[in-house]
């Protein structure tokens, strides 16, 4: 058994988590290795640049496939996203849901969970925000808070079933969260179908406009940039604080790096799994709420172009750290906002953005390899390369 951190009498819970005092266990999981490979700002920047560069090079041929050139494609992309005040606003508008859902994925990853269901959590969050926004009559401010809180609860509940199945039954969360996505798609279609429960009188496949009391106001004239930006920043700070400055965050990261280690610290890994997933789902729901209340002012059936899936790339590119996630959300915001121009000017399908994010995920998965190769060169070939260790079987924990 790899000894998890030498923690004095396992009372990590009693004091605030401080990496100086309480060492994290050696990583045995993907999340752990990503966090390890990105220790320190220099490595985070290096990994960010490496993955981005690799993905940009690998996706260049796709522009030619679509009958354009890489130069033309990237030019259209960046002009469409940064060329004017309006387009910068659009970039930020796109970056907000990407950041929030990226946080959701990153937080789950820190806890060793792969929440692929952020798309569904975002949908139900948007739905609840839209429903509460149209149906309730509350004073300004209060109404907004109720809508957002409702959306977060909805997102968390949508993550609850996968969380319980993972914690109790050991069923992999990737499969269950995907199922929940499809159920969310069906539910959404059902509620806003013609003569559906929530459908608008005038707008097909959407709810009515939310009351002005529930809207997130525009904060930059001449753009669509809305107050959701502040919410995103707050959520980012809160997530960072939770992960790196609270006992719960410490436990989340312990379980994420080594599921067995929790036992040594005297807490239940399965409880942490459920809590991590609930918080992650709430962040996903928040992303949906902000999009509905800030951009569209009503719930649309297909309002998300796949933010929940791009979020995986956003989280991995950002090294699972809120600051990194913010930077990569901005980058993906540029891609999403520029994709309109990409399609209009260069004739390249907007779906290329999904290809790009897939490549980012692929290269991010390979980052620990880069470190392994670098380490091998430094140490010389004689050193036996242990390779990554994936989860030790849980039985080892019972030995105590």
């Amino acid at each position: 058994m790899k000894t998890p951190a030498a923690t004095p009498n396992g009372d990590a819970s009693a004091r605030p988590a401080d990496e100086e005092e309480f060492e994290l266990p050696e990583p045995t999981t993907m999340a752990g290795r990503i966090a390890e490979a990105a220790r320190g700002p220099a490595r985070k920047v290096r990994n960010f640049a490496l993955v981005l560069l690799a993905a940009m090079i690998a996706s260049a041929p796709l522009f030619y496939l679509a009958g354009s050139t890489a130069a033309e494609g990237y030019k259209a992309l960046f002009q469409g996203s940064l060329g004017s005040q309006y387009s910068v606003g659009e970039t930020l508008v796109e970056a907000i849901p990407l950041f929030l859902s990226g946080l959701a994925v990153a937080l789950a990853f820190q806890g060793g969970l792969f929440n692929i269901g952020v798309e569904g959590q975002l949908l139900v969050g948007g739905l609840v925000a839209g429903a509460l926004g149209t149906k309730l009559n509350q004073p300004a401010g209060v109404h907004l808070v109720i809508c957002i809180a409702g959306a977060m609860v909805a997102g968390a509940l949508w993550a609850l079933i996968p969380a319980l199945l993972k914690a109790r039954r050991g069923v992999h969360e990737v499969i269950t969260t995907i199922m929940m996505n499809y159920i969310a798609f069906a539910l959404s279609r059902f509620l806003v179908k013609p003569d559906g429960l929530l459908v608008s009188q005038t707008q097909p496949s959407a709810t009515e406009l939310v009351k002005p009391t529930a809207e997130l106001p525009v904060i930059l004239g001449g753009t669509r940039l809305h107050a959701g930006l502040y919410i995103a920043i707050l959520a980012g700070i809160a997530t960072w604080y939770l992960l790196f400055r609270t006992p719960l965050g410490f436990r989340i990261r312990v379980v994420g790096r080594n599921p067995v280690a929790g036992t040594f610290h005297g807490f239940s890994s399965s409880r942490i799994i459920v809590q991590t997933m609930l918080i992650s789902g709430a962040l996903g729901g928040l992303a949906g709420a902000v999009e509905v209340l800030g951009v569209f002012h009503r719930y649309y059936d297909a309002f998300s172009p796949g933010y929940g899936f791009d979020a995986i790339a956003v989280a991995l590119l950002g090294s699972l750290n809120p600051v990194g996630v913010a930077v990569s959300a901005l980058f993906f915001g540029i891609l999403r906002a520029g994709s309109v121009a990409l399609q209009a000017v260069a004739g390249v399908s907007r779906d290329m953005i999904s290809v790009f994010s897939a490549l980012v995920v692929a290269f991010a998965a390979a980052v620990p390899l880069v470190d392994r190769l670098l380490a091998r060169r430094k140490r010389g070939p004689a050193v036996v390369d242990e390779g990554p260790r994936v989860d030790e079987p849980l039985e080892d924990a019972s030995v105590e």
């Binding site: 692929i116 039954r169 992999h172 499969i175 159920i183 790339a313 779906d351 692929a362 390979a366």
Partner: protein, 306 residues
């Protein structure tokens, strides 16, 4: 139209077979110790390439071959990531899934001119069994089956035989349970796992080809609709064993068939909610699944020569 009929049986077969191919693909890979969550992407690529080649050549059989070949390439790619690079198998597989969805969607317009959906192409023709017409209901059932359906049934038998009655199957299972022990008795773990993952890719892609060239005769954006994941659920529910996995696929296929029938018959459940039925059934199946002990012991762990 009645709810329970030969038509329902045929529709169950039609909807189960893609799951059978994909789930058995998953079975090969996972019994050798490599998690394959990329089944969905492999299916989607198979469906897409099958239609594209059929479109260019006019031959559904060439389309099938090409689709399966691409599945094999994706399997090899997944193997490269999870066996050689030893990257996280879930994350790299997710990359394949995302890539499949993005790339196949993005290429529809450049190839066929309009986004979203391809034009119709030639379907794989059904086999006509002489004399079956006189067999009544059984005959109607047999006449409705395509060569791919027969291939699916054969796959179940062959997989069972290979996995449990052949030395190669024993070697494959050994790699999934205890790669070190397998290696010490002379099994080439790396090679065995590569073969298993490539077979897995081919089978999953065949499941995709079944959807596109066996049923509808066109390619539609994201047309697999999570069937790769439903197949995974069936594989887990069937505890990684061929016959139970097959039965699980049929159960989930029947849920899907019921959903379509119920819609057509006007059962007072809204269509939109019925669409969620296969996913709900899959979730329930996973919820009732007991014990992690059934998974291959070394699943998801990269093998490092020691």
């Amino acid at each position: 139209m009645r709810l329970w009929s030969v038509g329902f049986l045929l529709s169950t077969v039609n909807l189960s077979m893609p799951l059978v191919f994909a789930a058995f693909g998953g079975l090969f890979s996972e019994r050798s110790g490599v998690i394959n969550i990329a089944l969905e992407g492999m299916m989607l690529f198979g469906a897409f390439v099958g239609v594209a080649v059929d479109f260019w050549t006019g031959s559904p059989w060439l389309g099938l071959l090409a689709g399966v070949a691409v599945g094999g390439v994706l399997g090899a790619l997944h193997g490269l990531f999870s066996i050689t690079v030893r990257a996280d198998q879930i994350v790299s597989a997710t990359a394949i899934n995302l890539l499949a969805l993005g790339l196949t969607s993005a290429l529809i317009a450049p190839i066929w001119g309009a986004p979203g959906v391809s034009p119709s192409v030639e379907l794989i023709p059904p086999v006509h069994i002489p004399g079956a017409d006189h067999l009544g209901a059984v005959g109607r059932f047999l006449q409705g089956l395509t060569p791919l359906d027969y291939a699916g049934f054969a796959l179940v038998v062959v997989t069972f035989y290979v996995l449990y009655r052949r030395p190669s199957g024993l070697r494959l299972r050994a790699c999934g349970e205890s790669p070190d022990a397998a290696a010490s008795s002379g099994v080439n773990v790396i090679r065995t796992r590569y073969v298993a993952v490539i077979v897995s890719g081919c089978l999953a892609a065949l499941g995709g080809v079944y959807l596109s060239l066996g049923e509808v005769g066109l390619f539609q954006r994201g047309m697999t609709q999570g069937r790769g994941f439903i197949a995974l659920a069936a594989m887990i529910f069937g505890k990684w064993r061929p016959i139970p996995v097959f039965l699980a696929c049929v159960m989930l296929g029947a849920a899907d068939a019921f959903q379509f029938r119920a819609q057509a018959l006007g059962v007072p459940i809204p269509n939109e909610l019925l669409l969620a039925l296969p996913y709900i059934v899959a979730l329930i199946a996973l919820a009732t699944f007991v014990g992690r002990a059934s998974a291959p012991a070394a699943i998801g762990r990269p093998y490092v020569k020691g």
